[in-house]
């Protein structure tokens, strides 16, 4: 699959959030959030609804601009080097982010062009194969089931072999097979040196999958440590 290993990257930390705050009107979605993510790990982000998980991922992806604080992607300030950060970051949100009236393959080709991906067709074939969506390649996205659309969305986020993958509740809408594929993909990516940040509702699975854990409640970081220092029970307590 060829994910860029980053052992010799600019910085030893893949991602840093420094005092990041984001306010919407009167509500403070993120309140001076501080954390780091190292290369090659899977970071699980947990928190109750409205805690700020989605906002955090959007801010890290560059979709949302923080009111305060700094974000470093591979050592680069996100604000200064938007294009370079975007080149190595992949994001999956709640919306499909696909052109509904184009086919699967047209979508993938388009985004491959946006990222300047070399060997477009090899890359696309590989993704279609991995996500088992090859049969749908010439179908319009609007005709696919939610589960299949989600697979295409995730495949799209990987078109440029990102070193940093940001996933906002990626398992939503996926069927059992889809989730298996997703977990496998996440493992592969992390093993090749890239970092995966994913927020999830599924505490048990999430905890199993993660190397490190970040818990957010009401915009504050309430826990940030490796996964084996927290139990399922304790995690549930923190989410109340």
């Amino acid at each position: 699959m060829g994910f860029s290993a980053n052992k010799d990257s600019i910085s030893d930390k893949a991602l840093k959030a420094l005092n990041v705050s984001r306010t919407f009107g009167r509500t403070k979605a993120l309140n001076k959030v501080n954390f780091e993510a190292k290369w090659g790990i899977k970071l699980g982000i947990f928190g109750p609804n409205g805690a700020g998980k989605s906002t955090l991922l959007k801010v890290l992806a560059g979709i949302s601009t923080p009111n305060d604080g700094k974000i470093e992607i591979a050592g680069m300030d996100l604000k200064e080097s938007r294009a370079r950060s975007n080149r190595i970051t992949g994001y999956v949100g709640h919306q499909p982010m696909l052109f509904q009236n184009l086919t699967v393959i047209e979508n993938l080709i388009f985004f491959a062009k946006m990222y300047g991906v070399p060997n477009i067709f090899t890359q696309i074939e590989s993704l279609l194969d991995q996500f088992k969506i090859g049969d749908f390649r010439n179908q319009r996205v609007s005709t696919l089931s939610n589960g299949m659309q989600k697979r295409v969305t995730i495949a799209r986020s990987l078109i440029h072999s990102p070193s940093i993958l940001l996933l906002d509740e990626p398992e939503t809408g996926l069927d059992k097979n889809g989730i298996e594929i997703l977990d496998q993909v996440i493992d592969n990516i992390a093993n090749s040196g890239s970092v995966v940040l994913m927020s999830t509702h599924d505490l048990t699975r999430g905890l199993e999958l993660s190397n490190d854990v970040l818990v957010i409640n009401n915009g504050d970081v309430v826990f940030n440590d490796s996964a084996n220092t927290i139990t399922d029970l304790r995690l549930r307590e923190l989410l109340v």
Binding site: A61, T65, R84, R87, L98, F99, L102, E106, F111, G116
Partner: protein, 224 residues
């Protein structure tokens, strides 16, 4: 530079491909332009002298209103599908998105304008099949599409986009309207290029300024 062109081109082709499949914009614009021109036919005294006087104005009002509709469609579906977000997180600069989208909107509107030409000949007997008119139409459409794409991106964020877009857009393109109507009038009267060259210059000036300003300002609209 190469990536700029190929990305803008990819966006352009993608938009046209979607339009070809759904025919969403082009049909409603064409319909609206036809409707506008019919209504005006009955709004004025059919006296040929009157028609001669108001002809250019009617043509341009019809084109402008059609343009507003095209522009309001352009960002709405992108926003709904989340694809605008997808473009934002890609490494391409916002100017590329502007150029690609403006080019596709321009193409759609220009095609509609071309289709409307024989309609105007039939309804109003206007000597509109003229190369110079084509050039004026090209420049004017270019101007209002570059400003309109910018404002459309802003308006598409809000729920009252049908109100906000015309409110922002129509005052901003008044110089275009003046230049277009004045030069069209001269063309219909059979004037030579020397007579309306200064209007062409005005259109070029407006286009240059609006393209530059829109490219610079578009990036700010995309930021959240």
């Amino acid at each position: 530079m190469r990536l700029f062109i190929s990305s803008a081109l990819a966006i352009y082709i993608k938009d046209l491909r979607i339009e070809l499949r759904t025919r969403e914009s082009i049909l409603s614009i064409l319909f609206f332009a036809l409707l506008t021109s019919f209504i005006f036919r009955f709004a004025f005294d059919p006296n040929p002298k009157v028609m001669e006087a108001v002809g250019p104005g009617i043509v341009w009002v019809a084109f402008l209103f059609a343009g507003v509709i095209a522009l309001s469609h352009s960002f709405v579906s992108e926003r709904d599908q989340g694809t605008l977000q997808a473009l934002m997180i890609s490494p391409i600069p916002p100017e590329v998105i502007l150029v690609g989208k403006a080019a596709s909107i321009f193409t759609i509107i220009f095609i509609v304008e071309l289709i409307m030409l024989p309609v105007f000949v039939i309804l109003y007997d206007l000597p509109i099949l003229d190369v110079w008119f084509g050039i004026i139409a090209f420049l004017t459409t270019l101007g209002f599409v570059s400003v309109g794409t910018l404002f459309s991106a802003i308006a598409s964020h809000t729920r009252s986009r049908e109100l906000l877009l015309p409110l922002l857009f129509l005052p901003a393109i008044i110089p275009l309207l003046i230049a277009a109507v004045a030069s069209t009038n001269l063309i219909f009267q059979g004037s030579e290029i020397q007579d309306f060259s200064k209007w062409v210059q005005l259109l070029l000036l407006y286009d240059a300024i609006s393209i530059v300003l829109s490219s610079i300002l578009f990036g700010y609209v995309l930021e959240d």
